[in-house]
C-alpha cells in the first residue's frame, strides 16, 4: 500500500531533513489492516535514525506533535486506530520549539 508522509515544523529533522516521503507499506503478516499505530511503528523502524523518542511515545506520537490525515486533524479520525487507505496523506507537525 502506498501512502505519503510529510514531516514539518521541525519534525523533518528526525527523518534526514526531508519533508516528503512517499512510502510503500508491506502487507501485514496476519492480513489485518494497517492502522496509524502500525504506521508510527514502521516510521520509527524505517525512517528515524536516532532519537525516536522525539517522535513516538508508546503507541502514539509524542505530545506536541500534530497529526493530519488527508488534511484533517487525526483527533477527528480515530487517532492511532485509524485504518489506512491506499493513497492516504499523513502530516506530522512538531510544535515543540527551542529557545
Amino acid at each position: 500500500m502506498k501512502v505519503s508522509l510529510e514531516f514539518s515544523g521541525g519534525a523533518e529533522l528526525l527523518v534526514d531533513g526531508q519533508k516528503n516521503h512517499d512510502v510503500t507499506l508491506p502487507d501485514k503478516e496476519d492480513g489485518s489492516k494497517w492502522t496509524v499505530k502500525d504506521l508510527l511503528a514502521w516510521i520509527k523502524d524505517n525512517l528515524i535514525d536516532e532519537r525516536p523518542e522525539l517522535f513516538v511515545q508508546g503507541d502514539t506520537v509524542r505530545p506536541g506533535i500534530l497529526v493530519l490525515i488527508n488534511g484533517t486533524d487525526w483527533e477527528l479520525m480515530d487517532g492511532p486506530e485509524y485504518e489506512l487507505c491506499e493513497g492516504d496523506a499523513f502530516v506530522f507537525i512538531s510544535t515543540l520549539h527551542g529557545g
Partner: protein, 243 residues
C-alpha cells in the same frame, strides 16, 4: 465525516483544544482571528500608529529595538499552540520549530515537554499557568534589580550573565553548583571567560560579545530556517512574540 459545529455545512478539519468543538477551516480561521483580536483590544496591546515588529519566535531571538526594554506583546498568550500551528499550516504560513540542543536555553525543552504532558491530561493546563502568572504581583516596597542583557548571549538578565549561561558553563566545567551557587562563583566564571572556547558560544557574535547593555543590536535566531522576521529599518514599539 464530521460536520463543522459552527456552520454545520462544511466538513470539520480540526478539533479545538479550547472548546473541543470540531470546526471546518473557514470557521476555525474566523474563531481564531476573533479571539486574538479580542486579546489585543481588551489588553490594549497596541495603540493606533504603533510600529509593530512581528517575530514568530521566543526568547533572545527577537530582542531588538532601542534601549532593550521593548514591550513584548503576546497576542497569542491565550491561544493554544495546536491552534497556532494548525492555523499556520492550513494558511501555508512558514512555520518551523526545533529544539536546538546547542542553544543556551535548550534546557527549557524539559519544561515544555512537561507542559505538553500536562496538556494531554488537561488541555487548559497551560492557560491556567499563564493565568496564575498574571495573578502574581510584587509588593510595592520590594525593589527589583535593573534589567540588563547577558554579556555572553544577549538574553535579558538582572546580572552580567543570565542564569542559562551560568548553568551551561557550570555543567560544561563540571561545576553544576555555579547555577545555584553564590555570586562569588559567577565572578569567577566571568574571570574564566577569556579562556572559554569561543565555539561553545552559540549566540550570534554580533550580540554576544557586547558587554554594554545600552548598545543596540539585533539578534536573529541561530536556527537557519527561522521564521523570525524583524523590521529593523525603523524602531518598533512592540515586539510581537508568538510563543
Amino acid at each position: 465525516m464530521k460536520l463543522c459545529a459552527r456552520c454545520e455545512t462544511s466538513r470539520a478539519a480540526m478539533r479545538r483544544p479550547k472548546t473541543g468543538a470540531a470546526l471546518c477551516r473557514e470557521c476555525f480561521y474566523a474563531a481564531f482571528e476573533e479571539e486574538v483580536h479580542e486579546t489585543i483590544v481588551s489588553e490594549n496591546l497596541f495603540t493606533p500608529g504603533d510600529v509593530v515588529a512581528i517575530g514568530a519566535s521566543g526568547g533572545k531571538a527577537i530582542t531588538t529595538g532601542e534601549g532593550g526594554d521593548l514591550p513584548r506583546s503576546k497576542p497569542f498568550k491565550y491561544t493554544y499552540e495546536k491552534e497556532i500551528v494548525m492555523y499556520a499550516y492550513f494558511k501555508k504560513l512558514d512555520y518551523f520549530s526545533t529544539e536546538c540542543t546547542y542553544s543556551p536555553n535548550a534546557y527549557r525543552g524539559f519544561a515544555r515537554t512537561f507542559l505538553k504532558d500536562l496538556e494531554t491530561i488537561k488541555p487548559s493546563s497551560i492557560i491556567d499557568i499563564i493565568h496564575s502568572g498574571e495573578a502574581l504581583h510584587v509588593k510595592e516596597e520590594v525593589t527589583l534589580p535593573p534589567q540588563g542583557t547577558c554579556i555572553r548571549c544577549g538574553y535579558m538578565t538582572s546580572s552580567d550573565l543570565c542564569k542559562a549561561c551560568v548553568l551551561l558553563e557550570g555543567l560544561n566545567k563540571g561545576r553544576p553548583k555555579l547555577a545555584v551557587g553564590k555570586k562569588r562563583h559567577e565572578e569567577r566564571l566571568r574571570a574564566d571567560d577569556s579562556i572559554t572556547d569561543p565555539t561553545t558560544a552559540t549566540a550570534p557574535s554580533s550580540s554576544s560579545s557586547s558587554s554594554s547593555s545600552s548598545s543596540q543590536h539585533t539578534t536573529q535566531g541561530a536556527r537557519p530556517p527561522s521564521t523570525t522576521t524583524t523590521t529593523t529599518t525603523i524602531n518598533p514599539k512592540h515586539v510581537v512574540d508568538a510563543w
